[in-house]
Amino acid sequence: MDQYVTHEHDVLVIGAGGAGLRAAIEASAMGCKTAVICKSLLGKAHTVMAEGGMAAAMANVDDRDSWKVHFADTMRGGQYLNNWRMAELHAKEAPSRVRELEAWGAVFDRTQEGKILQRNFGGHRYPRLAHVGDRTGLEMIRTLQDHGIHSGIEVFMEMTVIDLLKDGDRVIGVVGYDRERGRFRVWHAGAVVLATGGIGRAFSVTSNSWEYTGDGQSLAYRAGADLIDMEFVQFHPTGMVWPPSVKGILVTEGVRGEGGVLRNKDGKRFMFDDIPDNYKNQTADNEEEGWRYTQGDKSARRPPELLTRDHVARCINREVKAGRGSPHGGVFLDIAWIKERLPNAEEHIKKKLPSMYHQFHQLAGLDITKEPMEVGPTTHYVMGGVKVDGDSQMSTVPGLFAAGEVAAGLHGANRLGGNSLSDLVVFGKRAGEHAAKFAKEHGAGQINKQQVEEAIRLSLAPFDHGIEGGGESPYAIQHDLQQLMQDYVGIVRLEDEMQRALHGITLLKKRAERASAIGHREFNPGWHAAIDLRNLLTVSEAVALAAIERKESRGAQFREDFPDKSDECSKFNIVLRQSSDGSMCLSRQPTRELPPELKAIIEEQKS
């Protein structure tokens, strides 16, 4: 059996995006010996891709904003399936987390009075997103990284965790390998925080990087933790659609926040045709009013392009299916038109949306200050994930915490843009704090050698069945899974298609057992891809099973066979757990009743 080294820590964080770094900083500040493990180099995690901004009711631009409005917006966007405690804490604590970033060196765009500027975004009643042009995620990750390297955190870069280790019921460490040398290691820790992000790689059209293979969800599931809300996968309405090699790359909602409009091939602003009832009061009914809103007129209501992402994505899908799409199967997103309204529109666009300008210029040979972009939905985010306690972020398994995209609850059935970056730091901090407390109270557990050896044996299996021995390329299996999920469990869902997907997943699991790797273990991407398959298959199955069980359309889930919301389905979340025979079992968990004071806030904000 392979030799391995063992590292000892109080708190171990898996993932070095916004949530992971914030958790590590907190745990370290509480006096815990803390380490972070990340699959890539430090500072490259998916947080870097976040563009639009970070939602926090600071009321710097519109003084009518408050945590209560933010809370109500988040709950409405999530169609009331949210963990209301998380939505409450998030709305209350986000402003302090933004200010903290500024104290650590972040440089946000400014208002005239020199405060942090806030911009409009879909589903947010008032301008609420602290931002830096369209590279807010980079600002966040760099600030946390540069602060973190001076706070005594040990960072293990380019390492992958393959299993959580348990002592009885409790998680007490992890086993993994370094990608560079392919050597195994064990990290022994008092508490483990998952901050591994999402599952976008299970789909063929996605804005997510190779890292997003559902690792945290799958590790937690195999360790006995509950997953919740896995049916809710967010398809961002605006991804690039042309050329083919860039299909899925994100086009920030900030384009619409700055006045960009969606049109079909007939030049019609189709979003005006379909405004949901619960948003009618807050949505402009003419183009003039919508424009005034984007320019900061407080008496105007927001344009329908800034409705929630689930809704905008479906409207785009409908236009394309009805034959009113753009030449390459999307619709037009036009920011260039604002030159009719603003004197130096070209400079304004380049200043407010520099990476979008750059991205289209470089990758599509298109000047967004002159021509409309072509956009269509892309897999972007999973609202579901590890079920956690709202205050402590601990999962249903003691000693295992989760924060950020891998955790579920805050966003319910649909996430509002901008709520993700604030989620990372609000709950990253909380997870770090409570993991530190847990580690101090419980000390270290016992590592089970057999568990380590079994995990190592399984990971090395791809080298045993070379291509000649009936093995198969992991890339081919991954490709087929992505196509299957895209076609059958995508933006529009049907029962029999999803059953076909489940059947397909069963077959792919068999193929994955024969996934092969060639060559040696040093920085071998084929081997890494083979190991990732297990996680991708687990989360794919979870998404399909939960989506079949939810026989309604709500938030990000759209069922063509059940196109309406159902009262019955509004009363539960779907929980997935590994049963003793290893199969995935599903149950309905009734939603918790809102306390009267929070209920009152929601009622108040409905007007």
Partner: protein, 255 residues
Amino acid sequence: MPPTTFRIWRGDAKNADFREYTTEVSEGMVVLDAVHQIQAESAPDLACRWNCKAGKCGSCSAEINGKPRLMCMTRMNQLPPGETVTIEPMRSFPLVRDLVTDVSWNFEVKKRIKKFKPRKPDAEDGTWRMQQADVDRVQEFRKCIECFLCQDVCHVLRDHHKHNEFIGPRFLVYAAALEMHPLDTEDRLADLKNEHGIGYCNITKCCTKVCPEHITITDNAIIPLKERVVDEFYDPLTRLFRIFKPKKPAESTPA
């Protein structure tokens, strides 16, 4: 487009050479797409780093036809049609495998630069006031995605291997972003002169040319820092003046 041939550097620090691969190139493809296609078709163990595939993370740095570039932002149709494309790892850093290099030196260098130290908050609620015009320059520097292409092309590092004495353009930009941050109160000039080797830079501007974020590294970051160092340590009038000047307080008082 017809199939295109790629010469890709394969191997490790001890033993490496170019190997040729041929793959179909379709419309809009970037070099990173071709590398992925080669991985899927014929070389599953071909090592390369990448993440965002949109020029935002700075992972896929390489030398394409001899020029330091991001593979994800280099479109195939920008390269001479029909000719073989050469892809090599960054040559200023030790090779790990294939296109992957050991860039850990950069992470160590960053730790040696004194961290951000803000003045006391301007307002009672613990917040600061800064004008947009005053943060524009710092925001330019903070666009850096840490792809390390500037480090790769810098002759002080690449040809003269002064890694122990010189922090390179990336970290001069980093230091400039801290030094020019309106809230920062730390003084890094002595370090820049003595520890970080700012004098080694002879402003050939190669770094600025390769920066995928179009940061004006030399003109906006390095030259102003050099001027500050000169003012501080080499200007005879300043030196004379300093003898009579009271010592600078560590933090300024709130406005």
